[in-house]
Each structure stands twice: as structure tokens, then as C-alpha cells.
């Protein structure tokens, strides 16, 4: 297999949303997630010389982001004692004063599993979106994820609505094919 090469010029276009989704899932704060993504790119640039070419760019970048997330939690927990896990009564809710035993997780709940599954799904979709032609990915993003109205997108990109729907159609068809194997 040919060794992988880095193409920093395309990083933001190809991987920013993918990394961002991963980060939002870990830190639950969009501002922090955004910073982590840009820090990841900066660190990646700095250590680009150490890239051995045996992993794909995406894998390599996500590995850096993972370290950044860990560092982030270390930093906010750096005051001694904060790192301990502390359980207290849930104050200010209906259950205030109830026994802790009543707060244990419902063993039949599949809530946690579905959260993990949904995150994997999100990354799978982002991966597929990044394989789309740039313009299609942009239109699909604006329409589906950011929920911008058709008129606004047309104005901003200077296209007409039928152009837009053709691009949306192509994007959706490609995404269906791309996701087909695992998710339908």
C-alpha cells in the first residue's frame, strides 16, 4: 500500500466537521469543541514531520484530537480534589433527599447504548459527507445540519432553487449509497 501523505491545505474542508462532531460528543460545549479542533490542526502541522505515513490522515488527526480532549479534562480538573468522583444528593430536583440507591441506572435502559450508537452514526455520516464534492457537501450541510432556508442558501451561494434541489438530490443519493452497507 502506498504510504499516506499529508495535505494540510485540505484538512479544514475534509476533516473539520468530522473532528468537530467527535469533539462535541466528548466535551458537550460547542465553543470548547471548536477550539479543540483548531488546536488539533495546529499540533498536527507542528508534528507533521513525525507522521510516518502508515495511518490515514483522518485516523492520525483523530488520534491527536483524542489527546487534546484528555488534556482538556486534565486541565479543568487540575485543582487537587476536583478529579475525584463525588456523588451527592441531587439537589434542587424532585428527588432531593432520596436515597442514592434510588438513583442507580435502570438496568433495562438502553439509553447509553443508543447514545454511543448515535455518535458512531454521526461520525459515519460525516465521513460520507466529506466524500461528496465540495459544493454538494456545503449545500447539504447548510440545508440539513444548519437548517438554513432555501432562499437564504440561494442568495448566499448565488444559485437558483432548482440548482439547489439538484445538488441536494445528488448529495442525498450519494449518502444513501455510502451509508447503505452499515446503516439501512
Amino acid at each position: 500500500m502506498a504510504p499516506h501523505r499529508l495535505q494540510p491545505d485540505n484538512w479544514v474542508d475534509n476533516y473539520a466537521d468530522y473532528l468537530y462532531n467527535y469533539a462535541v460528543g466528548r466535551v458537550s460545549n460547542s465553543e470548547v469543541a471548536k477550539d479543540l479542533v483548531s488546536e488539533t490542526f495546529l499540533s498536527a502541522l507542528k508534528s507533521a514531520k513525525n507522521f510516518k505515513g502508515d495511518a490515514a490522515e483522518r485516523t492520525w488527526l483523530i488520534a491527536i484530537l483524542k489527546r487534546k480532549v484528555i488534556d482538556y479534562y486534565r486541565k479543568i480538573n487540575s485543582n487537587k480534589g476536583k478529579a475525584e468522583v463525588r456523588i451527592s444528593y441531587a439537589s434542587g430536583t424532585d428527588t432531593d433527599g432520596d436515597w442514592l440507591e434510588e438513583q442507580v441506572a435502570d438496568p433495562f435502559s438502553n439509553f447509553e447504548n443508543s447514545a454511543i450508537e448515535n455518535e458512531e452514526l454521526g461520525l459515519a455520516i460525516q465521513k460520507c459527507i466529506s466524500k461528496l464534492p465540495k459544493k454538494q457537501a456545503l449545500v447539504f450541510n447548510m440545508k440539513t445540519i444548519q437548517g438554513i432556508s432555501t432562499d437564504d442558501i440561494c442568495n448566499e451561494l448565488e444559485i437558483n432553487p432548482s440548482n439547489l434541489w439538484v445538488m441536494i438530490h445528488r448529495a442525498r443519493t450519494s449518502l444513501m449509497d455510502c451509508l447503505n452497507e452499515n446503516w439501512f
Binding site: 499529508l6 471548536k34 495546529l42 502541522l45 507542528k46 448515535n118 445540519i145 442525498r172
Partner: protein, 89 residues
């Protein structure tokens, strides 16, 4: 009777709740007789559900441009020739 192309467009519009009532009716009628579009419509709706379930996030173009600028301004950016795999040289 509408064409399959038209049906697909209406189906896409429905995914974003932008189809008019008459368009929806036309599509329904078309789906009764066209199996291909019926399959497409089903998958398309499924895709919308998946996207919704995945709770996707994305950066806006402005944010991406800002990150790009940040990367460009970074003085430590190595020369592209430095970062190819050593064995390729």
C-alpha cells in the same frame, strides 16, 4: 402524471418540509404506480431520520475560514516537501 425526476425533487422537498400540498398529492399518486420511486422515497425518509438521530454538528463556513487563516498564519508551517513519507524520497 409527473415524471420520476419531478417525484424525486418533491420527495427531497418533503424531507425539508418544503413541499406544497398539491405536490405531496402528486407524489402520493406517483408512488402508487412507481416502485423505483417508492423505494427511493423510503430510503430518503430513512436518511432524514438517521441525520436527525445522529444529532449532527458542523462548523459554519466563517468558522472554517477562521481556522484556515489561523493555520496559515502559523509560522511553524513546514514546507510541504518536508512532510511526505521518508521512504518516498
Amino acid at each position: 402524471m409527473i415524471s420520476c425526476d419531478k417525484a424525486a425533487t418533491i420527495c427531497n422537498k418533503i424531507q425539508y418540509k418544503e413541499a406544497s400540498l398539491s405536490e405531496k398529492l402528486k407524489l402520493r399518486l406517483h408512488l402508487l404506480v412507481c416502485k423505483t420511486c417508492k423505494t427511493f422515497s423510503k430510503k430518503n425518509t430513512e436518511l432524514s431520520k438517521l441525520c436527525e438521530k445522529a444529532n449532527l454538528h458542523s462548523l459554519t463556513e466563517q468558522e472554517k475560514t477562521a481556522i484556515k487563516k489561523q493555520l496559515k498564519d502559523n509560522p511553524k508551517q513546514p514546507n510541504p516537501t518536508d512532510i511526505t513519507h521518508p521512504t518516498t524520497e
